[in-house]
Structures are given as structure tokens and as C-alpha cells.
Amino acid sequence: MNIIVCMKQVPDTAARIKIKGDGKGIETSGVSYVVNPYDEYAVEEALRLKEKAGGEVVVISLGPDRATEAIRTCLAMGADRGVHLKDPSFEDADPFVTAQLLAKALSGMDYDLILCGKQAVDDNACFVGPALAEGLGIPQATVITKLTLAEDAKSVTVEREVEGGREVLQLPLPALVTAQKGLNEPRYASLPGIMKAKKKEIKVMDAAAVGVSGDDVKQKIETVSLSPAPERTAGKIIPGEPSEAVKELVRLLKEEAKAL
């Protein structure tokens, strides 16, 4: 099995977000970056598949220099090698461009299964997985919570979240799936894992290596401005005995908030 995991490095979900002066990006100094949580499930599932069926796990990521650390984290978990798409012209890549670049980079590689997180927790676009599957012309299953490889290794059966329940879907390989929470519990990198990861290969691919230029990296979605989310302010704490407080709450919900 040749397994590819697409990974994005994102600000830690607990990080404070400060918007830059130009209003188009965030202040990156002082922000700690992590592997996108949903991509961790993808890495873990890839490793479990490899442990069962053999093969190789390759982690590919598009990002600036610092993305190397996130790739290294995945290698420490047990992935075999990394590919880092890095070029000054990639810096403003939106999800559309990212999917295009990944499709170009992967089209020259052998793969049976591609795993992505169901979304990146920074831009929440949920775009790259399906768009990459489209770019490669392979079937997809999004928001999966279970994956089983067929005995002949020619298909996978997944459980995926649908409204009100789950759907069991079979996909012929090669295919792309996106990982939802519940798929597995990602492992922590072990100390030997971290030591080994230092020697594993991370291949850097720039625009020329990916085979793109100019319009290939033109954004489809332009950010006009970023603004802080409006802060909710503390409301009323309703005092008194529970029975009294509850009466007052119902009155407020009805008369003031008109929420009933």
C-alpha cells in the first residue's frame, strides 16, 4: 500500500489570534503551530493501515519554512518520508490553489489511498480533500469515522458521518478519504520515533519541481479583510434560590430575549 497523507500546519486551537496591520492576515510571532487536529487522525489511520498491509506512508504539506516542523512531527509518529511544497509563489495559495498544487505534485507519484483531515481548523474551508480527489479523478469519501481495507487490497469500506446517522460506503482504490474525529486515537511520537525522524527524508518541491507558474497559483478566493469576531459580553447572573432564579430566567427568555 502506498499511502499519502495531506497535512496542514495550523495555529494551535488555543492560540490567541491577533490580526495584522494590513487586516489581511494574522500576527504569526508568538503563535505556536501544530499539525491540524483532523490531519492527525489521517496520519494515525495511515500508520495503522501500513502496520496491517505493509507499504509506505508519505506526508505531504504545503507551507512556509515552519511547516517542516509539522512534517517532522508526522515522521516521528511513524510516517516514512515527507514532501514539502514550498515556494514564494505558494505563499498566498488559497484552498483551490493548494488542491491544484497537491494534484500536480501527486500525479507523478504512486498511491493507493490518500488521506486528508476533513477540514483545516484555521480557514475551515473543507475544500482541499474533495478538490484534490477531483484533480486526480479518483473517488472520495468525506468525514469518515471508520476504514477497513478489503482483503484483496483493491477497495476500502468506510463509515462516514451523514445527517442523522452513518453511511457505510465502499470505494475502489485509488481513492481519497477525509478523516473525522472518532476515526482513531492518534499516537504520540515516541522518543525513538523522534530520533529516527531526524534522519528521514523531507523532499522540498518548489514551483519548478511541481511544474507550475503564473496563473496556476492565482487565487480564486481573495481575502478582503480579517476582523476579530465580535466579543460576547457577560450578561446577567440571576441571583436567588434555584426555584426563584428559574422563574426569573423563563420571564427574561420570554420577555427580554424573546427566545422562546
Partner: protein
């Protein structure tokens, strides 16, 4: 402007409320220009649903009715809708933000060479560009963005942001049957496991009762369910409640769960981490019930009661029963 197309979604034989919301949103986008609002209704045996969209302002319904479009498949819907969009060339294509939309629209947009703005809480057309506002960075910031490049432009809209109000004047949408382009579907649905069939979908619920660490175990969620029954509410849960195995992950609200946007959110025994707030921060009214007066949820709640939820919640259920009976 050559119009806005809405991709309708059907669940359990009915049009989803969010599809009507998006139709109403498309109507207000087109009212500036007088352009056409069309709806793409795809499925099998769905003709009877086509008549409902005029109320919300649709001028036209394209009916793609074929047994091969049931159940939903990414391949089948992408092929059918891509062809329809190419033929009718709307300027914008919109859908309610749902699990299905997040599976279909990225693939559809990619096939047609477009980007997608996901989970918009505002939508407009500025200088001819579809422009949206959507939460980013765990809802700590909002991005105003616009679609560049060739049309059509694509966006999904968060449920409960725009009211599904009847258009004034209501229209009678012309129904045009379209033979859908069919492509081989590579995936096979082996089973469909209903878990909350018939219940209110969390992401579209108007009222949510949610429980966290303070609920202490799975059985205790019963008192939240009793409250929810009175309010016609959906049940949500914090990450702690899900990770402890008290509720299924489908119920989780927060940055690694669902984003909800109800009229009323009642948080019971939830401390209110930033990750939880990322999932429910746009709720119109938030009520917090927590025994810890220092819980951060009280800084975000409109109304708070400091007290034991095992005392307060049943009292609230009784009080609401009385209030709603009147």
C-alpha cells in the same frame, strides 16, 4: 447578472429548511438586479417538492429526477449538477452548509474551476463579485472574502443565519424537467445506519440543550433530554462529555465538533473553553447553568444561573412547561 442557483437538499423526503433559507438569500441578492433565482432539485421521485420554492422567491426550479440520483453519491451529483450549471451558467451557486454540501460543493467547484466560500454568515454581491463573511481561526476572527476568477462563484451559507421568509410577492416558480447527465458512480452504499432519525439536526436546530463535564455520566443526560423535549430542542455535548463516552461524537459542539447557530443555547455543566465557544459563539441567546461561579461560560452567556444543574435543570423544565402551556 445571469442569476443565482440554489442547490436544494432533501432529507427524509422533505426539503431542508436551510434550502429555503438559501433560496430567500438568493432572492435578496437578486432583488438588487432583478436577476433570476433558480433551484436545482436533484433526487428520485422529488417532483412533488418542486412547488415549495416559489414561496421563498425562486423563479425557476430545475428538476433532475432520476432513480440513479438516489441515494446521494458524490460522483452522480457532481456530474449532474456540473452539466446543469454549465448549461444555465448562473453567476453564483449557493447551498446550505451541511455535511452533504461540504462533500459536493468543493468537488463541483473544483470541476468548474472555481473556489468556494464555506459557512458564510453574510453574503452579498459587491462590484459583481460574490462576497462572503465567514468565521476563521476557530471563530476567533471573521474573514471577508470575495470570489475572483471566472463565474460561477460558489458559497455555502450557515443554517439559521438568514430567515426562510416568504418572498413578497410570492412567486410561482416554473418547473423545468432536465434529463440529468449521468456518470458511472464508483462508490457503493452498503448500509445506512440511522441514529437520530426524525430528530432535530444539531446544526439546524433553533434550540439546543447541551451538557458537559458537570453532567457526570451518560444516564444523567436524561434530565437534559427532558428539558429538550419541552423546548423541541436538540441535544449537544462538550468535548469532555464526548471523550468520556457519554454522548456520541455526532453531538459534539465546538472546534472539533459541530458549529451550531441556534436561537437559544442552554449550556449545562459546561465550563466554556475557547474551543467550545468556537462552535456555539454565534447563538443568539446563551444560557449557562454551572455550579462554578468562575466558569468562563458566564462571561459569554446572556443569562447565567450559578447552581447545581441537577437541581436547576428539572426546575427549569417544569417552569418552561408551565410557561409554554400558556
Amino acid at each position: 447578472m445571469s442569476g443565482v442557483m440554489v442547490i436544494a437538499e432533501i432529507k427524509e423526503g422533505k426539503v431542508k429548511k436551510s434550502s429555503f433559507e438559501v433560496t430567500a438569500a438568493a432572492r435578496s441578492l437578486c432583488d438588487q438586479s432583478g436577476a433570476e433565482v433558480s433551484v436545482a432539485l436533484a433526487g428520485s421521485g422529488v417532483e412533488g417538492l418542486a412547488g415549495e420554492f416559489g414561496t421563498y422567491g425562486a423563479d425557476k426550479v430545475y428538476l433532475l429526477d432520476d432513480p440513479k440520483l438516489q441515494p446521494y453519491s458524490t460522483d452522480g451529483f457532481t456530474a449532474a449538477l456540473a452539466r446543469l450549471i454549465e448549461e444555465k451558467s448562473p453567476d453564483a451557486v449557493l447551498a446550505g452548509n451541511s455535511i452533504l454540501a461540504r462533500d459536493l460543493l468543493p468537488r463541483l467547484a473544483a470541476r468548474l474551476g472555481s473556489g468556494l466560500m464555506t459557512d458564510c454568515i453574510e453574503i452579498s454581491i459587491e462590484d459583481g463579485h460574490l462576497t462572503g463573511l465567514y468565521p476563521v481561526y476557530g471563530s476567533k476572527a471573521r474573514a471577508k472574502a470575495r470570489c475572483a476568477g471566472e463565474k460561477p462563484h460558489f458559497a455555502t451559507i450557515r443554517p439559521n443565519v438568514i430567515a426562510a421568509e416568504a418572498a413578497d410577492p410570492p412567486r410561482s416558480a416554473a418547473v423545468e424537467k432536465v434529463a440529468p447527465a449521468l456518470e458511472a458512480v464508483r462508490t457503493t452504499v452498503l448500509d445506512n445506519i440511522r441514529e437520530t432519525g426524525g430528530k432535530v439536526e444539531l446544526t439546524e436546530a433553533s434550540v439546543i440543550v447541551s451538557g458537559g463535564r458537570g453532567v457526570k455520566n451518560a444516564e444523567n443526560f436524561k434530565i437534559l433530554e427532558e428539558l429538550a423535549a419541552v423546548l423541541g430542542a436538540a441535544i449537544g455535548a462538550s468535548r469532555v462529555a464526548v471523550d468520556s463516552g457519554w454522548r456520541s461524537h455526532a453531538d459534539q459542539v465546538g472546534q472539533t465538533g459541530k458549529v451550531v447557530n441556534p436561537r437559544l443555547y442552554i449550556a449545562c455543566g459546561i465550563s466554556g473553553s475557547v474551543q467550545h465557544l468556537a462552535g456555539m459563539g454565534t447563538s443568539r441567546t446563551i444560557v449557562a447553568i454551572n455550579s462554578d461561579p468562575e466558569a468562563p461560560i458566564f462571561e459569554k452567556a446572556d443569562y447565567g444561573i450559578v447552581g447545581d444543574l441537577f437541581t436547576v435543570v428539572p426546575l427549569l423544565t417544569e417552569e418552561l412547561k408551565k410557561a409554554l402551556d400558556n
